[in-house]
Each structure stands twice: as structure tokens, then as C-alpha cells.
């Protein structure tokens, strides 16, 4: 009783994109999304019925993101230059990039815990299973991440209440 994959993309695509963007800079995040859904499409017929599809997708995205970061660390070109060159043509910069950047600047465990729990909606137990460590550790990491974000981003943004309507 597998649903058409189109429904899976429509239902979970936006969440997986948020997760990718929470852990990677654009356009690497978008590449991670593409690789995640292509891999998911390939494996989908063999997925157990009744599986938690969103957790499955986020797990794939988690590994794709790690692959992309590893591939970048092997490249000679500094990552920042690559990202800037490509995003200039992408025209995807928005007023919320400060928040994305602050999120991506968190220590890895906090960033992952915030992305997978608060953005993807996974339980702390699911987050712990994905990134390792205990459920309590995942909860603490998410809590610490949110607190750090509030101090680094929220305060600095309070004077510029511009919203994302400017996006095309």
C-alpha cells in the first residue's frame, strides 16, 4: 500500500529542505535535498509499509549532508568562496539569511538537534538515534542551541523586523 512518491515529495519536501538548509549553506543545502529525494525515490519501493517516512527522509538527508561536507573538506577551494560564487547567480539570498547563518554557526550537535527536533519535528529519541548519544543529551543540545540562537540572532534582529515577503 505505497502512496505515489509525488505525495511524499509534496508532503515532506518542504520539511526536508528546511532541515538541509539548517545544517548546510545554500546551494549545498539544495543539492543535499536533491540527492536525498533521488536516493529516496530509488529505495522507496523497498521501504517497509508503515515506516515513518519523514524520519526516513531526514536520516537520508543527514547522511547526504555529511557526505557533502566531507567532499568539500577534500576540495582545495575554500568553501565560503564556492558558496558565494554560486549563490550570487542563484538569487536566493533573503532577509532571513541571518537566522539561517546563526543556526549553521552553532556547534554541530546543537545545530543537528535544533534542525531535527524543532525544524523537522522529530522526537528527541529519534534525534538521539540519528546523531548518537542519549535522548537527554539530544534534549539538552536542542535547548542549548535555541538559547544560543536567541542571544546571537534574536537580539541583533529586533531592530529590523523585515519579513520574507520580499522573496519572489
Amino acid at each position: 500500500m505505497k502512496r505515489p512518491f509525488e505525495e511524499i515529495v509534496a508532503e515532506h519536501g518542504p520539511t526536508v529542505l528546511r532541515v538541509c538548509r539548517a545544517v548546510l549553506a545554500r546551494p549545498d543545502a539544495d543539492d543535499a535535498w536533491s540527492e536525498t529525494f533521488l536516493a529516496a525515490l530509488r529505495a522507496y519501493p523497498g521501504l517497509a509499509d508503515g515506516a515513518n517516512i519523514e524520519a526516513w527522509l531526514v536520516t537520508i538527508a543527514h547522511h547526504k549532508a555529511i557526505d557533502i561536507v566531507r567532499a568539500q573538506s577534500r576540495r582545495a577551494t575554500p568553501v565560503a568562496d564556492v558558496a558565494q560564487t554560486r549563490s550570487a547567480t542563484d538569487a536566493l539570498e533573503t532577509s532571513d539569511d541571518g537566522l539561517w547563518a546563526a543556526l549553521r554557526a552553532l556547534p554541530t550537535k546543537q545545530r543537528q538537534a535544533v534542525a531535527y527536533h524543532h525544524v523537522a519535528g522529530m522526537s528527541y529519541a529519534e534525534v538521539a538515534a540519528l546523531v548518537g548519544g542519549s535522548t537527554d543529551a539530544a534534549r539538552r543540545a536542542a535547548h542549548d542551541g535555541i538559547r544560543a540562537l536567541r542571544s546571537r540572532y534574536h537580539n541583533s534582529q529586533s531592530s529590523t523586523p523585515q519579513k520574507k515577503e520580499s522573496r519572489s
Binding site: 509525488e6 515529495v9 519536501g13 520539511t15 529542505l17 528546511r18 539544495d30 519535528g121 522573496r167
Partner: protein, 176 residues
């Protein structure tokens, strides 16, 4: 599933619809390149309502009316052919163009590759074609098309009735 418990994250939770469209299109192209798109579909506006047309890499495999519930039809295709189904209009460009010509009264026969893997599915496609003519006669097609289309339409209607009277009728797939 959105479960942001902190309003600070709202800008991140908000959907990026433009990016989703772009990424979805890229996914369709990549899936086709990797031969992972088992069933492509699109909808076509017509005088008899929105039609769903679905094709495998071999050809047209299903035509469905709105009243059949397109979501239900796609679920049936997912179970009978493959769940690797994406909305991919390009694979069905030719089908859409021929349907448009048909409803404009410029075409009387369809020249399309057909997928026979579902005997019932194929018959549904054929019957769908014949029933279109039936509908056209009582609705908007006939006045626009003029008398030129009538003999063909009448003949195909008779054929449709013959087909539907055959033993076995519409099989399990008809309900999909």
C-alpha cells in the same frame, strides 16, 4: 509535520514555495535520467472536465476522469505498477497536444504509444477515448466540431457499447 516550539524559528519554518518548485522539477529530470520514473502523469483540461493521463516509459497506461478521483487512480497505479510516480508533464506533452487537438475538432484519431502491461488499464484507456466522443456529442464538442466528426463519433460510440457489453466488463483496475 511541523513542530516548531519556538517562534524565533518561524522564518525557517515558513515554506519556500519557489525553491520547492525548482527542486521538484530537477528531481523529475534526475529521476528520468536515472530511469527511476516508472509512472509519469499530468492533468489536462478538457470540455469533459480535468483528465488525468499517466504514462510509463512504454506509453500511455491510464486516462481517468475527475469523477474517478485522481488521487484514488494514482494510488491504484502505485499498487499495480510502481510507487515511483511523479507529476511530469513533459513525458505527456504529446498526449496533451493530441487531446487538445481532439477537443478543438482538429483530430479524430490518436497516435500514441500505449503500455499494455495492464490489460484492464489499456482497455480503460481505449474506453476513455471512446467515451470522450460520447460525452462530446451531448456537450460542447459537437456544435463546435460540425458534422464532419459525426460519422466517426457515431461509429466509435457503437464500438464502445459493444466493448462494454463484453463478458468481464470492467475489471478490478476499473475501480483503482
Amino acid at each position: 509535520m511541523i513542530n516548531s516550539s519556538d517562534p524565533m524559528l518561524d522564518p525557517i519554518i515558513a515554506d519556500d514555495a519557489e525553491a520547492m518548485r525548482r527542486l521538484r522539477d530537477q528531481l523529475v529530470a534526475a529521476a528520468e535520467a536515472d530511469q527511476l520514473l516508472d509512472v509519469a502523469y499530468r492533468t489536462v483540461d478538457s470540455p469533459v472536465g480535468t483528465l488525468l493521463v499517466a504514462a510509463t516509459d512504454q506509453g500511455l497506461v491510464r486516462v481517468a476522469y475527475e469523477r474517478e478521483d485522481h488521487d484514488h487512480v494514482l494510488q491504484g497505479l502505485s499498487e499495480l505498477i510502481s510507487p515511483r510516480i511523479l507529476r511530469a508533464p513533459r513525458r505527456l506533452d504529446q498526449t496533451a497536444r493530441q487531446l487538445a487537438e481532439y477537443f478543438a475538432g482538429e483530430r479524430h484519431d490518436f497516435v500514441l504509444p500505449l503500455d499494455f502491461r495492464l490489460a484492464h488499464g489499456f482497455r480503460r484507456a481505449v474506453l476513455g477515448h471512446l467515451v470522450l466522443i460520447n460525452y462530446g456529442r451531448t456537450e460542447s464538442y459537437q456544435p463546435d466540431a460540425g458534422s464532419r466528426a459525426m460519422p466517426s463519433g457515431g461509429a466509435q460510440r457503437r464500438k464502445a457499447r459493444r466493448l462494454r457489453r463484453r463478458p468481464g466488463g470492467e475489471g478490478g483496475f476499473a475501480r483503482a
